[in-house]
């Protein structure tokens, strides 16, 4: 799907505030409310917009710790599947990626205390070597993908 400047303007607005009404969104990008709704639907149908999510600040809910854990040296495919199954059952684990290189999995998890974190890790610690880093801060968190930032995308289909 070829994106024009108006599509990009819609994407930019919705990345910044996914709760804008179609009327307000239309006003900002210079379209009528039905026209902007139609374009948004096309962006959703094409899989360009994958979803809309409220971001919850766990620090405000007494969950101050976030860690990035690398799970290294997972030996077999069966173990990998087992680990994924375990991670899916742990609500504290919010992200899990498989990457190339020596790191098999990178996971993000939240905890209320070091003890809590340690208890969660016990569920999968015996399947891999774990390297845990505590997050100090996220100076850049979910930067908006915009045409202005990436002028070279104008040629993209």
């Amino acid at each position: 799907m070829k994106l024009d400047k108006t599509d990009w303007a819609i994407l930019e607005e919705l990345q910044q505030d996914a709760r804008l009404s179609y009327a307000e969104l239309g006003r900002r990008v210079g379209l009528s409310s039905p026209a902007v709704q139609e374009r948004t639907r096309r962006l959703e149908d094409a899989g360009i917009i994958e979803g809309y999510h409220a971001k919850v600040n766990l620090k405000q809910l007494n969950v101050p710790l976030m860690a990035i854990i690398r799970l290294i040296n997972i030996d077999t495919h069966e173990t990998k599947e087992k680990v994924v199954e375990i991670l899916r059952k742990l609500p504290e684990v919010t992200e899990c990626y498989q990457v190339t290189g020596e790191d098999e999995f990178v996971i993000h998890m939240y905890a209320q205390s070091m003890e809590h974190m340690s208890n969660i890790k016990m569920h999968f610690a015996h399947y891999a070597r774990l390297v845990t880093s505590i997050v100090i801060r996220k100076p850049i968190d979910g930067r908006v993908i915009s045409l202005e930032s990436f002028p070279y995308l104008e040629e993209t289909d």
Partner: protein, 165 residues
């Protein structure tokens, strides 16, 4: 300032709906959680004001807008004197969607999107003078945008649900 806002079951139900679909109307959320539309709006505003809801964001698939490559890069061994320069490069590189400061020798974890391997190589080249980069290309996402639920926070220090190992 409420230093420990207490959320009841209805607040959690609203948070759940908004994490799963941030574009739901107040009326629709109200129907799902059993409240009037103004009552939902009021509760949402309270959670926004308390900083519990930080924002609402559309999630874009980078591959579909021209970035088929997603990389996680650990940037290590950055000298103290180069830190400011490294932070400046990160700020000025829009392909870095996320930058996380972590404990340990790595220091920075970057989430980078790129149009090609050459493009990724070009982006990583910006750091070559200031430290060592270790990069893994994303192969598969198993868990992402997980909804934070009430039970995420129900850690019981006395619970004995840890497997033996």
């Amino acid at each position: 300032m409420m230093n420990q806002p207490r959320l009841d079951d209805t607040d959690w139900a609203i948070l759940h709906e908004l994490q799963a679909d941030a574009r739901l109307s107040y009326a629709e959320i109200g129907r799902r959680v059993g409240l009037s539309s103004p009552a939902v709006q009021e509760r949402v505003r309270r959670m926004e004001d308390a900083g519990i809801i930080k924002g609402y964001h559309a999630d874009i698939n980078p591959a579909k807008v021209g970035f088929p490559i997603i990389a996680f890069t650990r940037l290590k061994q950055v000298n103290g004197k180069d830190r400011a320069k490294v932070i400046e490069i990160i700020q000025n590189t829009p392909e870095i969607l996320e930058s996380i400061d972590i404990t340990g020798e790595d220091g920075f974890v970057l989430n980078i999107i790129a149009t090609s391997h050459d493009h990724l190589d070009y982006i990583l080249g910006k750091f070559v003078e200031y430290g060592q980069t270790v990069t893994g290309i994303l192969m598969k996402t198993f868990i992402e945008n997980r909804v934070i639920k009430q039970n995420t926070l129900n850690f019981d220090e006395n619970a004995d649900d840890v497997q033996d190992w």
